[in-house]
Symmetry: C2
Subunit: 443 residues, 2 copies
């Protein structure tokens, strides 16, 4: 397509691309009329010149239209999903999806795998014996209609342009662009055919976005895409300077989610899960104030309906639902050993990214897309930031099978954990709401 | 190559790439380890972030090393070439190469074809019956050793990375970058194994570089690459706001060159040819001042040795040398008609680019790389800028075979030529020398 060169030139020179321009570029790319080397030059021009809000929404629309958009009109419930930009120990999906479904929402959740120091929802689900994260779209829709929630991996049907573009971005140093990240996430989420979306934009060392400014910008851009697409979106910017919850590692995190659904979850994990679920209830029009929405979460949790719904989802997707009562049915590491403190004081910091790398060293995470992970291994913290600690007392436990990288995992943990003589003021976990006023629910 | 992504990132973020970085990128591209989509992302990053002088020289070196570098050590004469960035009616190579060779230089001239409104040396040579511009490198070297000059088209042997990169630049809107243009030209010229190079950087509407600033920047960058490569380079910035000489069109330009070698050339064409040849004599160490070098040019021209050498080169490359005496052996258009002035006054301007498009409409130029050109057709001006003109008097003649675009050629000429009531001050044709002091010749 001769016009592709013109459009690349337009963006290269700082011009604005129109809705029709994006439709031609993405359509042309999918039809093979725009070459991948043209797409990558365009991606670099976008990386360096940026896209404004209107352009980002139009790019998202073009990517969305590259594939199937789910039609959920036969489901009467409000269709609301949650998406997180990912972090270390970030396991809220397994808590939120059952509680939101138990609370009257339909949650069509299509998730990704983990890469590098971050874990992925799919990898956690895959540690549940029998759980099928590769349902076809029709089966996914049947489970969703029956249980109110279904959790699967990305398929070739939805927003295939995103897969093509992401593969190019990955090898052309054009990943870390707020408009491109926003369009990538939102094209996949909007393809789910949802009414509303709660976003969890992580910020800090363990997150993809390291600074508050970047995280806020990403949240704002995704919210603006939602608005352009007439889909209600609210984003929370949440802390990822330390792992979320105590467990890092797939089966270990599943256990922590079940514990949370049983009312025994760690405070910060519970807080983020509760707030995001409440946003979903509000956006879905199930409740009309955050206070009421939070109380709905609390009631479902206390009643055990969330746990029951989780078991129901596992069952519906072919998994062993009995794991919620019998953790021995989950993969378990052959070895466990404590990681003890060398000094006394207070836990001042547990640096998330380095903990993520420590878990990856044990085999819990992927170094490359084709790495094989061990679902059983990981790290479970016995202490949280702010807790007092005595010399010789365990800070966490390492669960391992392959000892070859145990030393490097220990060295990383040594580096990640800081102990101070005084207790520091606790950091809030929910940092910002974007937009600050929750958009009105379904009326 | 994973490292390619890192190197793209480095340039994307405004960092400097090292000599080794460029060697890896270009080497990897040629070996297929760096994908074309990575190269195009890098090209866009270079386009927008730039390259400094050292980086441009290192990129040039890497491109140069992607292929064969000619070894001219068995030729005892100073090896000096001339390169022009191209324009309308720019035919100096056919005058300079014979005179420089007759004056004691070896001129290994590898040229390109014309595209768009600009003509190419190769197309002009191809209009000479029998002239072979596709000699293999060995035959090229034999002709060079025997006659002191040889003129061929680009081969796959020399700087093949340039061909790969140029093909990508053409379709990814990354052509108009001074570092990339400089590296492209200089890698091909340095691969000729020359001691020195005279550059003709055209400026104005008919040139690739439209402004003096751009032209100066390109000239400076190419001179700095020469310095880094220990090759003496001087660039002249010359005017291309009007066509150079009277003829535009391939065989018509060959005739004009022969006329010039016979001492009957138009003033500005003669001036540019003389100055560039004198720079070559000086850089080659044949003369030690511009005055002496110019006088050498004048002597060779007056003696007829330049014309004789041109016939010798034609003969050596398989062409009919008798064309220098009998122009009827050259392709001739079937139709000729005058383009007359509608008003009286003085020729105030002959806008080069539009004249180039008019000649292209007649079939003299290529719209696309695969267009077929007609060697016979074109335009010959009877008047030059500054000449008085009467209403009804011919300004130029159109030579044509296919009348289908005659009207559009006429309309373009109408647009290109301006007549004013007063004679304007003449514009100099040689505008700048870069660097201003000619580097010393071979001692």
């Amino acid at each position: 397509m001769m016009r592709a060169t013109e459009l690349i030139r337009k963006k290269r020179d700082g011009g604005e691309l129109s809705r029709e321009d994006f439709a031609q570029l993405i359509g042309g790319l999918m039809r093979g009329e725009v070459a991948d080397y043209q797409a990558s030059a365009l991606l670099m021009a976008i990386f360096l010149r940026g896209l404004n809000e209107r352009e980002t929404a139009d790019l998202t629309e073009a990517m969305l239209r590259s594939g199937r958009v789910l039609d959920l009109s036969n489901i009467r419930l409000p269709k609301v999903d949650k998406h997180s930009t990912g972090g270390v120990g970030d396991k809220t999906s397994l808590i939120i999806a059952p509680i939101a479904a138990a609370g009257g929402l339909a949650v069509p959740m299509i998730s990704g795998r983990g890469l590098g120091h971050t874990g992925g929802t799919l990898d956690k689900l895959d540690s549940i014996p029998g759980f099928n994260t590769r349902l076809g779209i029709d089966e996914f829709l049947r489970v969703l209609a029956r249980t109110g929630a279904a959790l699967i991996g990305q398929t070739d049907d939805l927003a295939p342009a995103d897969r093509t573009l992401y593969a190019l971005r990955d090898v052309t140093a054009t990943v870390e662009s707020i408009p491109l990240i926003s369009a990538s996430i939102m094209s996949k989420k909007l393809a789910e055919g949802i009414d509303a979306l709660a976003l969890d934009v992580k910020t800090g060392s363990g997150a993809f976005m390291k600074t508050r400014e970047q995280s806020r910008a990403l949240a704002e851009r995704m919210a603006s895409i939602g608005a352009a697409h007439h889909t209600r979106v609210q984003a929370l910017v949440t802390d990822m300077s330390q792992p979320l919850g105590a467990a890092v590692g797939n089966a270990l995190e599943v256990i922590e989610c079940i514990e949370t659904l049983k009312g025994r979850g760690p405070a910060r994990l519970l807080e983020v899960s509760r707030e995001l679920t409440a946003v979903m209830f509000l956006l879905g029009g199930i409740e009309s104030s955050m206070g009421e929405a939070q109380r709905r979460f609390d009631r479902i949790l206390a009643s055990g309906n969330g746990l029951e719904k989780f078991a129901e989802i596992i069952e519906a997707q072919g998994g062993k639902a009995r794991i919620v009562d019998d953790y021995s049915l989950l993969p378990a590491a052959r070895h466990q050993e404590p990681f003890v403190s060398r000094q006394s004081g207070f836990i001042a910091g547990i640096e998330a990214q380095t903990v993520g790398f420590a878990a990856m060293a044990l085999g819990a995470g992927r170094e490359r897309l084709d790495s094989v992970i061990d679902p059983a291994v990981g790290i479970v913290f016995r202490k949280a930031v702010g807790d007092p600690i005595a010399a010789g007392e365990p800070i966490c436990a390492l669960f391992w099978n392959d000892g070859s990288k145990l030393e490097s995992a220990r060295a990383l943990l040594e580096q990640a954990i800081t102990i101070a003589p005084e207790r520091a003021a606790p950091l809030p976990v929910i940092l910002e709401r974007i937009p600050n006023d929750v958009p009105g629910g379904i009326s």
